[in-house]
């Protein structure tokens, strides 16, 4: 099967700064692909190159078999974009936003009205049809941006941090809608720094850091391989680390100290939790948490638990 997106040595430089540093990735039909990474990792720069907003500095980028440098218009006809900022047309109402946007795609007026009606229903915006954009809540604005991105029935949907800044209800509604698009066969590429979002939506993820893809795969595989099945969090003073490590030396576990916590990563298929808790009970700690490994652990293991402000 031909990939819908094929990127080779994709590079983006802004003057001295290399935002995207020669990355490769392949995305297939019906993939729900997530770019994860801290702020400044190059996620937004990558997605902006995908819709021709930002010209690539070097490399190769084919979307739906077309070269972005020569066929941007034909590519853009077939994709939908939810950009990081809500760039709705504040001069217009909800319905007008959809109709005017449809016109950019040369969708005939009758058809545009039909699609706008369907999309407003799908996104629970019918009651707001005649409202101006300023009158909408944050969640409604985001839903309208998403509705607008679907007006041309895109083969690929690009979402740059689709739910950042939304409250939990608003976020879950958008996730539900995005999941329901899967059955329609739309591929989806999103950037996020919410691990829960990636876990909810993506079947494949690429973790980016400092302009590079540092790992890629399905979330489950990557967590299993690079983190383990379970995590034991031990709140304990750093002075006791050495004692803990001696106690568990024979188990050959990966460990990591960050802040007030010592993390122990438990591989799959071993009933180590019981053994560990028994042994660690004797050492003075304030709290012990035993839980499933998550995408968050993977992300933090790969990009470092330090908070990097950029």
């Amino acid at each position: 099967m031909q990939p819908i997106i094929l990127a080779k040595n994709l590079t983006k430089r802004f003057g001295e700064l290399t935002a995207v540093d020669s990355i490769d990735f392949t995305i297939h039909e019906q993939d729900y692909f997530g770019f994860l990474g801290p702020n400044g990792a190059g996620k937004t720069s990558t997605i902006r190159m995908l819709y021709g907003f930002s010209p690539m500095t070097a490399g190769q980028l084919k979307i739906l078999g077309l070269d972005i440098r020569t066929a941007a218009r034909r590519i853009k006809e077939q994709i939908g974009v939810v950009s990081q900022e809500n760039n709705l047309d504040t001069d217009l109402t909800v319905l007008e936003n959809l109709l005017v946007y449809a016109r950019y795609f040369d969708i005939p007026r009758q058809e545009a009205r039909r699609r706008a009606g369907d999309l407003m229903a799908f996104m629970q915006l019918q009651a707001k049809e005649k409202s101006r954009v300023e009158q909408l809540s944050g969640g409604m604005k985001r839903r309208l941006v998403l509705a607008r991105a679907l007006i041309n029935k895109p083969k690929i949907l690009l979402l740059d941090e689709p739910t950042t800044g939304l409250d939990p209800q608003a976020r879950h509604l958008i996730w539900q809608r995005l999941r329901s698009l899967k059955s329609g066969g739309t591929a989806m590429i999103l950037t996020t720094h919410y691990m829960e979002e990636a876990a909810q939506l993506c079947n494949r993820v690429a973790v980016m850091d400092a302009g590079r893809i540092i790992a890629t795969g399905t979330p489950q595989e990557m967590i299993r391989e690079r983190v383990g099945a379970e995590v034991l969090e031990l709140r304990i003073t750093p002075e006791l680390d050495a004692q803990v490590l001696r106690t568990i030396a024979d188990l050959d576990l990966e460990t990591e100290r960050y802040g007030d916590t010592l993390y122990l990563y438990l591989p799959e298929g071993h009933a180590l939790a019981k053994v560990l808790t028994d042994r660690l009970m004797g050492i003075n700690h304030s709290e012990m948490i035993h839980r499933q490994a998550t995408l968050e652990d993977l992300f933090l293991r790969l990009t470092g638990r330090e908070l990097v402000e950029t």
Binding site: R73, K76, D91, L92, V100
Partner: protein
């Protein structure tokens, strides 16, 4: 640098942007018209009737007659300029309309060209209404005045393009003061709208010869009062050339600004 001066590839799709701007305008056009036309009509009445009472004939006509053609033309200049400065800047920076549109099959060139076409249209709306007002005052005495709408198109297109070029450099709303106070307003006063230029000190008439509005005002007077001369074709060429030049340059400059 070279890519600033080349001919941009603009497609017919720029009309989609023009339609968008028109649709947004139609929602508030009464308010917008008041802003565009209040000033020139006030100038016509206050200066023409008010100041005109105290003045003898100017260049063989009443003061009202003298200033009417220039006010038609300058109303186009201001309407086109405001649209492609404040209007376009608002859409580009605050509303992010440009960003939203270039995610569709339209290119940034289409978007900027569409906005310039819309600015041109705004200038045409103002100029045409002012032309009608001047006609209602009974000030048009020549068949040659049929050329005025074409002149209005030309002036509107020139100032829409010029203003868009200014907008491509502007970082804040306040910075438009430079363009408006140091360029448009002096042009309004020193291009022969309100007084003849030939009896002023040499440096003033040299300065005024550098202002495109000067030619437009001369042409408008020649047409409205039926005294066509070489100024009509030559002046038109002197308006068209910079209009085309600044159209290309402004589209390229805006592309450089928006696409990074």
């Amino acid at each position: 640098m070279n890519d600033i001066f080349r001919i941009p590839s603009v497609s017919w799709r720029c009309l989609r942007v023009w339609q968008r701007d028109r649709d947004a305008y139609m929602k508030f056009f009464k308010l917008s018209l008041l802003g565009n036309l209040g000033d020139p009509i006030l100038y016509l009445v206050a200066m023409g009737y008010g100041l005109g009472r105290f003045l003898n004939q100017m260049e063989g006509m009443s003061y009202l007659e003298f200033i009417a053609p220039g006010l038609v033309i300058s109303s186009s200049m201001f309407a086109a300029s405001f649209e492609c400065t404040y209007g376009s800047f608002l859409r580009m920076i605050y509303m992010k309309t440009y960003d939203a549109i270039i995610a569709t099959p339209l290119s940034i060139e289409d978007v900027v060209a569409g906005d310039i076409l819309w600015g041109t249209t705004k200038g045409m709306i103002s100029g045409t209404i002012m032309f009608a007002v001047v006609g209602a005052f009974g000030l048009i005495d020549s068949f040659w005045a049929v050329g005025i709408p074409l002149l209005i198109v030309l002036v509107s297109f020139l100032f829409a393009s010029l203003s868009m070029a200014a907008t491509s450099f502007v970082k804040t709303f306040e910075a438009f003061n430079y363009y408006i106070t140091l360029f448009l307003t002096p042009m309004f006063f020193f291009s022969g709208v309100f007084f003849p230029l030939n009896r002023l000190p040499d440096w003033v008439s040299v300065f005024s010869k550098l202002l495109p509005l000067t030619y437009a005002v001369e042409i408008s007077r020649a047409l409205i009062y039926g005294k066509p001369s070489w100024i009509v074709p030559v002046g038109s060429a002197l308006l068209l050339a910079p209009a085309l030049f600044f159209f290309c340059v402004s589209v390229n400059l805006m592309k450089r600004r928006v696409i990074q």
